[in-house]
């Protein structure tokens, strides 16, 4: 579904990614773990078009998308829930969710009725968002904002979701709640690339994982394989 080959990208003169390759098959949750500054977020940003890769290919459902703008890639079925959640603070929770489905809804009127069944699904998954649907997204707690960011990505009905550090800045009990939701989404068959500092939790939900180090993939394998790898255990799972 998502195939990344030999991706290079960076910011200005400083190159962060020096040839990263990874595959996300349909219906799989793939974790991307690694130390701070290893290039996990940059990988996601280069895949979704927030920064332009300098080299390499990104195939989304077989179509080369590297070099396209972020909005074009989003319209092709990639939903990126970015680091720091980036909800639209002044807009209501419901408007945030509607905007998640922006590219498949009519622009003027009738969009609300068309999105109603999908909104219902999101509200069933996140009852807290239903309670706060008319509240400005900026007034939500960190955990609620993370739920909203995930819900907004789901609203796009995407082929692949990139989820960057859902646990960032959240209390441990909320982090468990977020991972619980990821498990439920996994049962529903979503395709997800997950970047996470909490490598242990990430490996619990993932079908496959990549360990990133200095801008390239250092180790890859199923969670069981990584749990047998002593270097990985020492560095990330200890």
């Amino acid at each position: 579904m998502l195939q990344v080959e030999n991706l290079r990208a960076g910011y200005g003169a400083s190159e962060v990614l020096v040839g990263a390759s990874l595959h996300v098959k349909q219906g799989m949750i793939v974790a991307l773990i690694g130390a701070n500054g290893a290039g996990k977020t940059t990988t996601m940003r280069a895949i979704s078009g927030m920064i332009k890769p300098t080299q390499g290919t990104v195939l989304l459902n077989g179509k080369a998308v590297q070099g396209m703008s972020a909005s074009q890639i989003a319209r092709l079925g990639l939903a990126h829930a970015p680091e720091g959640r980036k909800v639209f603070g002044p807009l209501s929770v419901e408007d945030n969710l509607l905007l998640g489905a922006y590219h498949r809804l009519p622009g003027f009127l009738g969009f609300h009725a068309m999105a109603a069944p999908d909104l219902e699904k999101i509200y069933n998954l996140f009852p807290r968002l239903r309670e706060r649907r008319l509240q400005a997204a900026g007034t939500l707690s960190g955990g609620e904002q993370q739920m909203l960011a995930i819900g907004r990505a789901l609203m796009a009905d995407p082929k692949v979701i990139l989820l960057d550090e859902p646990s960032m800045g959240l209390a441990p009990v909320i982090v468990q709640e977020v991972f619980g939701i990821l498990r439920r989404l996994k049962e529903q068959g979503i395709t997800l690339l997950l970047v996470e500092q909490f490598a242990k939790s990430a490996l619990e939900v993932a079908d496959y994982a990549y360990v990133m180090d200095h801008g390239r993939i250092a180790v890859e394998g199923t969670p069981a394989e990584l749990h047998r790898n002593e270097k990985v255990i020492a560095a990330y799972l200890g």
């Binding site: 927030m50 703008s69 909005s71 990126h80 980036k86 905007l99 590219h103 003027f108 969009f111």
Partner: protein, 292 residues
């Protein structure tokens, strides 16, 4: 008697103030999406007024001239975005400041060459015979200014709140990168904001011209006060520009009555200086709060 004169001055000042507010609103539209504004906005008002006058002189009926003039404004707004703003924003430079000023200068010369330097009357089918309401003289033309200003701002605000496209506009204003990730093209949204801003400028020109006449220099007086209104009110509150616009309009009308017309610019400029010194985000501006 005296209080009646004050009331009279206040009413006609407030109506002028609404036009300042409308032009300031045009600044807000583009600032919201792109953090840039068109410093040639006054010339856009003037060019649209001249264009509309030409339509009338060519025999177009008044009510058909309005959409024609507004369309001209939209096109000019898009020209400004394409020629003066887009490339500089892509390079993250502030070059749009200089380029939009140059656009204004070019527009000014073009108007002088095409339409001449003279101020010309702008015919309107709306009567300018004063009505007496509670002892105050108000002309239907003046009332049409108020209606026009609220109609245009009302339609745009409805668009922003009620349509998905409008919500996308707000999303780009709130977080451009995140909006892109939703499949919203920031470039198209910025084009839209410049188109709307041009339309607002054209509306201001069409509304004010029957009262002030049309001439190449009509912009300079308007634009300075529109700037004051935008800065004092802040660049993100449509309600704020209306309140501050009316306030500045009333103040300058009273100042010119009591101190002489040479002083009419002072209240607007004094408020501008005060606002920059005390509340740079504007009276109605949101003080940015960052949650870490």
């Amino acid at each position: 008697m005296n209080s009646l004169i004050i009331a009279q001055m206040a009413v006609s000042g407030a109506l002028m103030g609404l036009v300042y507010a409308l032009i300031a609103y045009g600044f807000q539209l583009t600032f919201a999406t792109s953090k840039s504004i068109n410093f040639g906005q006054g010339e856009l008002v003037m060019l649209s007024a001249f264009f509309s006058l030409t339509l009338l002189n060519l025999g177009a009926p008044y009510w058909l001239m309005i959409p024609g003039g507004l369309l001209f404004g939209v096109v000019m707004g898009l020209v400004v975005e394409r020629a003066c703003v887009r490339l500089t924003l892509e390079q993250k430079s502030e070059g749009w400041i200089l380029l939009t000023i140059i656009f204004g200068l070019l527009g000014f010369s073009a108007a002088e060459n095409i339409w001449g330097r003279d101020d010309r009357p702008f015919p309107s089918p709306i009567s300018s015979d004063a009505l007496h309401i509670l002892g105050i003289n108000v002309t239907p033309v003046e009332i049409s200014v108020a209606i026009g200003v609220f109609a245009v701002m009302g339609v745009i605000e409805l668009f922003k709140r009620k349509t998905l496209l409008g919500k996308a506009f707000e999303a780009v204003s709130a977080d451009r990168d995140a909006a892109e990730l939703m499949g919203i093209s920031a470039t198209h949204t910025i084009m839209l904001s410049y188109g709307l801003s041009g339309m607002v400028a054209a509306m201001a020109g069409i509304l004010i011209s029957p009262i002030t006449t049309v001439g190449p220099t009509m912009a300079s007086a308007l634009i300075l006060k529109a700037f004051s209104v935008a800065v004092v009110a802040g660049l993100d509150s449509g309600f704020g520009v209306v309140v501050i616009g009316i306030l500045i309009g009333v103040l300058e009308s009273l100042t010119s009555y009591y101190l002489g017309s040479g002083w009419r610019e002072t209240p607007g400029l004094l408020l501008l200086i005060l606002a920059l010194a005390i509340r740079p985000n504007g009276v109605f501006g949101k003080v940015s709060i960052r949650k870490v």
